[in-house]
């Protein structure tokens, strides 16, 4: 879906991104992670031509983006930024309808789409459509920001530290929201963050950047179990490596089917980390497990968590 080939971006003598090659497949949730100045935002902005590459080629859907008009290219991609950037003089409805309006959709279609998206993001349309951004909390504003990015149903979603300014609770809620939206819609997401927990939670693949270079790319499990360098090892785990490993695997993967156990059951889709936490809090060495439809699925044992 998105291919970067030997892409370099220079600012004068400084090199922001150096010889970066990266392919993001359709439906992938690719997270770019690294410290500040690692070049991850610049990489993201080169995909929608807010920044042009100095060297190398970027293709989207097989076409070199230099052949495309920047405005047209951007209307095909959702864009969410940390500072949100809602238009303060427009209502929520008009903000969400920005790109459909630029694309010349009929007003009635825009209205229906806007209301449906707000509802999907947990904002009651009746209450929020006519509000102005300054009347919303930061979390609600970013929900509107995401709805705006999704408005024209783009195949690609570019997100530049979208949850960086949110409190931890709101951030968790929106992470769950975007993960669910991505899974049900199959959109290709490129997501920039410096928060490794966020990356491990959301990514199907993580690209680690350091000083403009790509140092490792792989699934969360690959990064945790086979870090390519000291830098990656420190970034992904450090002392918490074991806990993080438990965080990226589900209860379903260590399930003992058919057994039963007392106590409040845990969902099969929950992480092993959550299971460990429950065991520690409740003083048990096993928990009952239920499937997503609520039916008993089996049990999970403490010993199973320690298996590699």
């Amino acid at each position: 879906m998105i291919e970067l080939e030997h892409v370099t971006r220079r600012y004068g003598a400084a090199v922001a991104v150096a010889d970066l090659s990266l392919a993001v497949g359709a439906g992938e949730f690719c997270v770019l992670i690294g410290g500040s100045g690692a070049g991850k935002s610049t990489t993201l902005k080169m995909i929608n031509r807010l920044v042009d590459a100095s060297e190398g080629a970027i293709r989207v859907g097989g076409r070199d983006i230099r052949e495309l008009e920047p405005a047209a290219l951007r209307r095909r991609m959702g864009y969410v930024i940390q500072s949100i950037g809602l238009f303060p003089h427009w209502t929520v409805a008009r903000n969400v309808g920005t790109v459909p309006e630029l694309l010349g959709w009929p007003a009635a279609t825009i209205r229906d789409r806007t209301a449906a998206l707000l509802a999907r993001l947990g904002l009651a349309p009746g209450e929020f459509l006519a509000k102005y951004p300054h009347q919303l909390s930061i979390g609600q504003q970013q929900r509107v920001g995401i709805a705006r990015a999704l408005a024209a149903d783009p195949d690609i979603l570019l997100m530049d530290e979208p949850f960086g300014a949110l409190d931890p609770i709101t951030r968790m809620a929106l992470q769950a929201e975007i993960a669910a939206i991505q899974q049900e819609s199959g959109k290709t997401v490129v997501f920039v963050t410096h928060d490794i927990d966020e990356a491990l939670r959301l990514a199907s693949r993580i690209a680690v950047m350091e000083r403009g270079r790509l140092v490792q790319i792989g699934t969360p499990m690959e990064l945790l179990t086979a870090p390519a360098s000291e830098f990656v090892r420190d970034l992904v785990g450090g002392d918490d490596l074991g806990i993080k490993l438990l965080g990226v695997a589900t209860v379903a993967s260590r399930l003992r089917a058919g057994e039963t156990a007392p106590g409040v059951p845990i969902a099969a889709a929950a992480s092993l980390r959550q299971a460990l936490s429950r065991m520690a809090a409740e003083g048990r060495d096993r928990l009952a497990v239920v499937a997503s439809d609520g039916r008993p699925a089996g049990t999970i044992h403490l010993a199973d968590l320690l298996r590699r």
Binding site: L50, A71, R74, I81, G85, L86, H89, T98, V99, L102
Partner: protein, 246 residues
């Protein structure tokens, strides 16, 4: 804004007061005779006040409209990437325009373009430019950068960005500058009568020359009321331009 009965609207009342002042001034002749018993002619009769008010409004409107076009235009130009290097130069030129007293501009203009409307128009235009240019630059600078970045990121072209995002967000600041410029021009336009422009300055100038305080009042009161009316009208416009903030 809180709901207020229409009849208590200050804009309505000051407009009515202005109209009444210029239309009914002849009726006030006994009053001026009483106030200034030494004057032989207590009522200005060289020209009709409604005509002078109209002339005043025309010269202020024309010069302010031109100042808005030039000031906002120059402000837009120097805040675009293409015009950025002219920013200092334009600001200096306009500031110099502001330092010339309008009387001096009138004095220089008359030998060049003659008496009447034109020298008044140019003097007021020059004098009204600075607040408009400065407020345009300040207004555009006040547009949040994240709104700009989001707009570009969503595929808004530069024209749409300016029209839909930058100008509406800068409008309150720009309007405040235009308001200052127009109000200053209403006062300055009285001086334009010295070069033959028909404004409410005529009774004032004639009154000053002839030591007739009644004439001065008959020009100054409607001129002051006109400034009040325009100021209130701009206040209304300003409130409308930022209703979303409420």
């Amino acid at each position: 804004m809180t709901a207020r009965p229409r009849w208590r609207d200050p804009l309505l009342w000051s407009s009515l007061a202005l109209a009444a002042t210029v239309l009914l001034m002849p009726l006030a002749k006994p009053l001026f005779a009483r106030l200034f018993p030494a004057l032989q002619r207590p009522l200005f009769a060289l020209d009709s006040l409604p005509d002078l008010l109209l002339g005043h409004v025309v010269v202020v409107t024309a010069s302010s409209a031109a100042a808005v076009l030039l000031g906002v235009g120059a402000g837009l130009f120097v805040t675009r990437p293409a015009g950025a290097e002219f920013r200092g130069m334009v600001a200096t030129i306009v500031a110099i325009g502001q330092t010339f007293p309008p009387v001096a501009v009138l004095a220089v203009a008359v030998p060049l373009i003659g008496f009447g409307f034109e020298p008044a128009f140019f003097a007021l235009l020059l004098y009204g430019l600075l607040p408009i240019l400065e407020s345009t630059v300040a207004g555009l600078a006040s547009v949040p950068t994240e709104a700009r970045e989001a707009a570009r990121g969503m595929g808004m072209g530069e024209g749409a960005l300016l029209r839909k995002v930058e100008l509406p967000l800068a409008a309150p600041v720009i309007l405040a500058g235009i308001r200052t410029s127009v109000i200053i021009n209403v006062g300055t336009a009285t001086i334009a009568s010295t070069v033959g422009a028909r404004t409410l300055g005529l009774p004032i100038i004639v009154g000053l020359n002839g030591a007739n305080p009644a004439y001065i009042l008959q020009g100054a009161i409607p001129a002051a009321l006109l400034a009040v009316v325009l100021d209130l009208a701009f206040g209304r416009l300003l409130a409308a331009s930022q209703r979303w903030r409420a």
